[in-house]
Each structure stands twice: as structure tokens, then as C-alpha cells.
Subunit: 462 residues, 2 copies
């Protein structure tokens, strides 16, 4: 079994396991109590806070532990917005933030606040100037991830922080994907992270609020964690989180080089091994362990299942999954292909031979899925000629990746300069047909409304 | 060392420890993922939910796991209030709820909602009729603990639930202190609890919302735990919580008899061993492991320290602690003495000899603290005669328990039928002087405003 989904949850680092089990005996009591079990718990909590603060690069009294990264993000955004209520109600986020940030932005919007989503380029990166332009006199807070969780692209946090600082607006950084690799650079104001992303335990996140940042915790008051994280402290998880952060940092320099070489291998070889693949994300400014690619004419869920059967656990931002019909918001914002999407995120310690085995298995798996999907589809039946001899592919009711498969099948019938019209009602087509055109050097003319679904017009250019 | 503060946090049950460490290996992956590590995590989560639901007496799909009991209470109250917005904005709580409930009520009040606090009797119990009277047409929710965390008094939940049900109002039960002992009886609508109170790990609480109860989760949306508990599931803690709940329940019948006998021993013998003690809480309708008493003329914090030195970890709802100058809201609501307050809460497995040793040590410890506090206080200096020969004790600037000590010292100088006036500015005096009068059979006449602090008037009746 090769687990290649560290960006969802990393397996527990041995140091985390050791710290957690050790503190089950020492750290169960209430650290607010005066007796010896309480004082011992308090010492553990204080030491964990100091270690975590050192790794983050902040003062211990700026850092609180939360029950998860999601809670850190929710509390951080709500508290910073409330603290800056007098400045205004405008919130800036990037279009490729983690869902916890986007859901907090949604809640802010539902409560009457204004939200600007800053677009990203085709690599998934924001531009500092786009953030600078989004800043308004009533901007209360800006949020930006340190690196993207689906494609690994590293964001220009320091530059965006500088633009925010110049406007007097605090920047909250979601550092969930990068904190294990190193501190977040730049003059940010708030930071959120999640221990189980760096090999720490579940049940622990952290929220940093720099001194001087206006912050008004929301929800019922609670005396624990400076009033910023209600509820009894999960001390064993906190101790394990701090200890493992220190441990992964000690290994980061060496391990990042190793993983970067392994993901580079995947980036370079997958397009050679598998036809019709698009590798996405920034090839240079990226996290060491993440590589993401999309395979044309493949259903992401089937691909996941087949890879699981051959012993690989990966995730997919593909629209073709059982849980959702909406394509990954990250891939959509990047404007890249989402069908047959695979994210490989290698945990530290991943062995070279497992990556090689993945590269050996992948071509067959993709070919198998393509064969299964391609075979039963009749071609001529769905094609009719009308409206100035333009080809029409009727893919209504057909789910991703069938519309794109049908398009690919008929393009050879279109004379160079002629158009084909794909009628489809699967949301994924809106993203995947333009992405297919870009990959194939065909011209995407545009989308037209239809009685049911939409018509996607493609011109054959070669 | 004897740890007698299980009501704050119980030491980890061996079954919890075992389940937690076992699921560190099996339960770190994301249960929402489709690959085998994810499916395994999902199986563990589902099994834990079924086990917990069985112990609670609800359907598995009515129960979600939260990061703590406090979060369960906060989410439960906010969600139930929002779900019943159309009914109105009135919330009922008892005056002796856990601070998490009272703080949620405060937040509701601050947001424009109405809150009724139902009073308790001298044992700490509410009356079902008082709840019935508090119900209004615009009541959205009522909250009641299953048993009190400071004095152990069991509340008439089933009767209150019946009154609420008749009025069409959901009742939320905070079962934190009792769930380990057995299911909560009656037709309640919502229930919250905390694993570390029954010997489970920290980092896990549970929230039950009965089918048919209107519930609108608040805060940013999140797909996990039916949208009722945001953030990555803390699976090892959840598995350990469910396993240990089952384990403590299996031992509950036997252990409750044993602990009840031990606390009965403390209830009966402390007043005989230590002069000027009031044992508080209901002597019969009470939790097996909790016994609380208050010692006149003693500072609670010093008492805690001295007991800690002799090897006993207990807590205190006394006003005389470093962290707060406000007396315990529970003791205040009951109208009982708060000074020198000690709560003994025995964890399952407490040995008889440790309780005996506590009873052997306590009289000396209390006597020692009293001697220390009593000795340096000059009596005659602070007493003057004025205003119709009434004695005046000037205790301005003197902290609890000094005002009561001074009162006790001069009462012998007051002729029967005469009064003594105590001038004090320590908030604790407001509670403790009437409580002292009740204990000593003297008449508490009332309180009068003064330039600084208040005057408490006491008439000698015997």
C-alpha cells in the first residue's frame, strides 16, 4: 500500500505518536487548576506553546491552540472581521483558498458583508498587484493561503502582505499546507494551521494573532486559550502537535529536496507515459510533495478506485466523483482541465520505489478506464448535421467525461475552419471543453444557452 | 497522591487509552476519502457513532462528535435557537448551569435575545413547576443540566422535559456530569456531553439532536458531522470516547454504589470532624462521586494549597481564589456558604483508604488555615460603637474570609436582640454573611448601601 494523499492528512509522525501517548499520562488534567496534576498540565501546555511559537516565528502569547485547522480559520476570520468592524465589512480572499476560508467568506457575505475573490493565473497563483487592486478603504481583512492544497502552487505571501500592510489591512495566512516545511515569510498579521497536515495528530490546529492586530473573538466567551478557542484543551494532541512540528522542521531541508525530486519525476514522466494528460500547477514555485495532473477522457472516481485496487491512495479534484457534481473550485479558477484529475501528495519518507511503481502502473490504469468508458459509446447516432452544416454532438444527460470523449471523436469529421457544437448539461463540460481545446490547440469559440444545458462551440484549427 | 477532582477531568480510563493508541494507526486518514485508509477511518467513525448512540439512547444519525463538551453546548444552543427563530427568541436556563451554557445564554442576550434564569432551592435543584412557569409563547429553547457539576445535585430532567414537550419547546440537556453513569431519562430533545468527564480523552464531545427538532447549524458551513461540527474529525479521540463510555457504563452499577458509600462517609463525617462546616447539595438525589462542603473562616485557595501539599487534589468554588473574586455562581444561586468551599469528586476506582486518609488529614488542615488567618487579626481595633450603640465591624479592604471571621468574633459582644453592622467591600461577603447567619441561627437583617462597599446588618437572636 502506498499512501499518496498527505495533503488531506499525513500519517502520524513517530514523534507525534510518542509525545501523544506520553502525555496521556501527564496531560489529562485541567491546566487551569492549582493542584499538581493541573500544574503539570499547565507546564506541558506552556512548553508546547513556546515550541510551536518558535516554529511559526511569533511570540508564545500570540499563539493559541484550536481543535482543528478549520476552527482556526473560522475563528481567525470571524475575530479579525469583528475586530475591524469600524474599518468596514469588506473581505478579500483568493479564488483558490481552502473550503474553510471560502465557507467563512460565504458566511460573512450571508451576514451582509462584502467579499472580493481575487483570481489566479493558470498556475494557480495570485498576483500581488491583483490583491493591491482589491484593497478598498472599507477592507477589514484579506486572506491568502501560503500554498495551494490541490496543486501545490506557492503564493506570493510576502508581497501580498506588504501591499496589505501599506493599506493598513491585516492579512490572514492559511498556512495549513506549508507550515511543516518552514515558517511563512513576510509581514502577515494572522496565521492558521492544522497539525494533521504536518504529521501531527488530528484534534489540534493553531491560530496566531500578531500583537497590535484588532481581534474580537466571536461566539460565547470562554476563559481558555486567551478567549480565542473555547473548550477544554486537548493537551495530548497539543503536545504532539508541537513536538511533531519541531521534528518535521528538523527533517524539512533534506526531505524537501528528496520529495521535490520525486514529484519532479512524476511531473516530467506522466505526460510521456500517458497520452492526453495535463500537469497543472506552477512547475517551480511549488510545495515539495504535491503534483497534480488531469487525464482526458477519464472519470476521476473510477480512476481513484482503480488506483486504490493497485495499491495507491490518491485524491481527485475531478468533477466526476460521487460526492459532488461541481468541479474543484481550484481547477476551475485556474481554468485547467478537471476531468480525470489526480493529486499525488507524498508524505515525508515516501520511498523512491513506490513512486516508480506508481509510474509503472498509471499508464495501464488510465488506458483501462478509457477503454471502459470509450467502448460503449456510439458515435454516429449522436451526431447530426444541421445549422449550416455545423456538426452537433448531443451529450445531454451524459456525465463527465463523456461530452469531451464525444467531442474528441467527432473533431476529425470537422473540416479545418469549421465548427462543432457540443450540447451538454453536465457542469463539468463548462470547464473541460475549453481546457480540452487549449490542450489540443483547437479554438474554443464560446458557450451559448440552450433549452436544456448549454451549447459549447469549438472551431477546428488544425 | 489522591486525585479527587474527577468532575473537572477524569483520568483516562484504560479502555480509552487502549482504543486511542490503537486508532492512532488505523484512524488518522480522512474518513471522507474513498481509498482504503479513508474507508477504514469511516468504519471506525461509524462504529464509534453507533456505540455512543446506543449508550445515549438515540439513533446514530442523531449524534455528532464535537471537539469538546463546551463546543457541543455552544453549537447545540446556537443551532436550536436559530432553528426555532420563528417561534421567538426566548431562552430558559437554570441558574446553576455550567459556564458554557451560561456564556451561550449571555451571547444570546447580547445579540438581542431574552433569557430567563430559573432559580434553584438550597440543595441546588430546580423545580419542574418553575420551568413550566418560565415557558412563554416565544420560548425557543430551554436548557437544563442532568446533574450539577459543583454540588452533584441531580435535576428533575424528565419532569422538566415533560413540561417543555407539552409547550412544544425543545429541552437541551447538558449531560456532562452524568452520562458515564447512565442514559438521561425523559423526553429531552437535545443533549450535550464531554468525554473527558467520563474517563474518555480530551478532544471529544457529543451533541445529540433528536429527529424532528428544528436545528440550523451556525457559523460557516462544513460538510463533516452532518454540518454540525466543523473541522477534521479527531478520530482517535472519538473512538476512545465511545469505547470508554461503553466501558464505564459496564462498571457503573457497581462503582456507583461504592463511590456513593465513600461520599456518604465524607458527608456524614466532615461535619463531625471539622467545626463550622456546611455540607451542601441534595443528600439523596445526587451523583455518586461528588460531595461539597464549605468551611467557615477559611480561605479556599489556601485550603486547596494545603490539601495539595498533603497529597489531595480537589477543587473549590470558593470566592477566595486567585483567579476570580466572584463566588461560584452555583453556590450563590443556592444561597449557601461559599467561603472555604471544597468539592471532592472521586474518580471511579478511588480507594477507600485514600478517602479515610483525607478524612484524617482534613481537620488539621482546616485548623491550620484558620489559625493562620485568625491569629493576626486585631479584634478591638476594628470595633467601634456608634449609631444607637450598634456594633460596627469595619472590614473594608479585607478579603474573604476576614469579614466573616470579624463578625464571628464580635457576635458575643452583642446583646441578644441587638445588631451588629459589618462594613465590607469584598463581594463574597454578600453571600457568606447571610450564609453564616443561617448556619449560626442568627438573623440576617439585610444589606445597606455605603460610601464604599456595603453594610450587612445582623441581629443576635441567641
Amino acid at each position: 500500500m502506498s499512501y499518496f494523499d498527505a495533503a488531506s492528512a499525513a500519517p502520524l509522525h513517530p514523534v507525534a505518536r510518542q509525545a501523544l501517548t506520553a502525555s496521556l499520562d501527564e496531560g489529562w488534567a485541567d491546566p487551569a487548576r492549582l493542584y499538581r496534576e493541573g500544574r503539570r498540565a499547565r507546564l506541558l501546555l506552556d512548553a508546547a506553546r513556546e515550541a510551536a511559537a518558535e516554529a511559526v516565528g511569533c511570540r508564545p502569547d500570540e499563539l493559541v491552540f484550536t481543535p482543528s485547522g478549520t476552527r482556526a480559520v473560522h475563528s481567525g476570520i470571524a475575530g479579525a472581521l469583528a475586530g475591524r468592524r469600524r474599518a468596514g465589512h469588506h473581505l478579500i480572499v483568493s479564488a483558490v483558498e481552502h473550503s474553510s476560508v471560502l465557507h467563512a467568506a460565504e458566511a460573512h457575505h450571508a451576514g451582509g458583508g462584502a467579499v472580493t475573490e481575487v483570481a489566479v493565473d493558470r498556475t494557480g497563483a495570485v498576483s500581488p498587484s491583483a490583491y493591491a487592486e482589491a484593497l478598498r478603504p472599507d477592507t477589514a481583512l484579506a486572506c491568502l493561503q501560503s500554498a495551494n492544497h490541490e496543486v501545490g502552487t506557492v503564493q506570493p505571501v510576502a508581497e501580498v502582505a506588504e501591499a496589505c500592510r501599506a493599506a493598513g489591512v491585516p492579512l490572514l495566512v492559511d498556512a495549513a499546507q506549508s507550515l511543516g516545511w518552514g515558517p511563512v515569510e513576510g509581514d502577515w498579521s494572522l496565521l492558521a494551521a492544522s497539525a494533521h497536515k504536518w504529521g501531527g495528530p488530528s484534534g489540534a490546529g493553531l491560530l496566531v494573532v500578531r500583537k497590535g492586530v484588532r481581534f474580537a473573538p466571536q461566539g460565547p466567551r470562554d476563559e481558555r486559550e486567551s478567549g480565542r478557542a473555547a473548550g477544554f484543551e486537548n493537551l495530548p494532541a497539543i503536545v504532539a502537535a508541537a513536538a511533531s512540528l519541531r521534528a518535521v522542521r528538523a527533517e524539512a531541508a533534506q526531505e524537501s529536496v528528496r520529495l521535490r525530486e520525486l514529484t519532479e519525476r512524476i511531473r516530467a514522466r506522466v505526460p510521456r507515459l500517458v497520452p492526453d494528460v495535463e500537469v497543472v500547477g506552477d512547475p517551480r514555485r511549488r510545495l515539495p510533495g504535491i503534483v497534480t495532473f488531469s487525464c482526458l477522457y477519464v472519470d476521476g472516481e473510477t480512476l481513484l478506485h482503480e488506483l486504490d485496487r493497485t495499491g495507491f491512495s490518491v485524491s481527485s479534484g475531478s468533477s466526476c466523483t460521487s460526492s459532488t457534481l461541481t468541479p474543484s473550485h481550484v481547477l476551475r479558477a485556474m481554468g485547467v482541465l478537471s476531468e480525470g484529475n489526480i493529486r499525488v501528495s507524498l508524505p515525508p519518507g515516501t520511498r523512491e520505489e513506490d513512486v516508480e511503481r506508481f509510474l509503472a502502473v498509471l499508464p495501464e490504469v488510465v488506458a483501462g478506464v478509457r477503454e471502459k468508458l470509450g467502448a460503449p459509446v456510439p458515435v454516429r447516432e449522436v451526431v447530426t448535421r444541421e445549422r449550416d452544416e455545423a456538426l452537433v454532438v448531443d451529450a445531454l444527460g451524459r456525465r463527465c467525461p463523456i461530452p469531451v470523449i464525444e467531442l474528441a471523436k467527432v473533431i476529425e469529421d470537422v473540416p479545418v475552419g469549421g465548427t462543432v457544437r457540443v450540447l451538454a448539461d453536465d457542469e463539468a463540460a463548462r470547464l473541460d471543453i475549453p481546457a480540452w481545446c487549449e490542450m489540443r490547440g483547437q479554438e474554443y469559440v464560446g458557450e451559448e444557452p440552450a433549452d436544456r444545458g448549454s451549447v459549447y462551440v469549438v472551431r477546428r484549427t488544425g
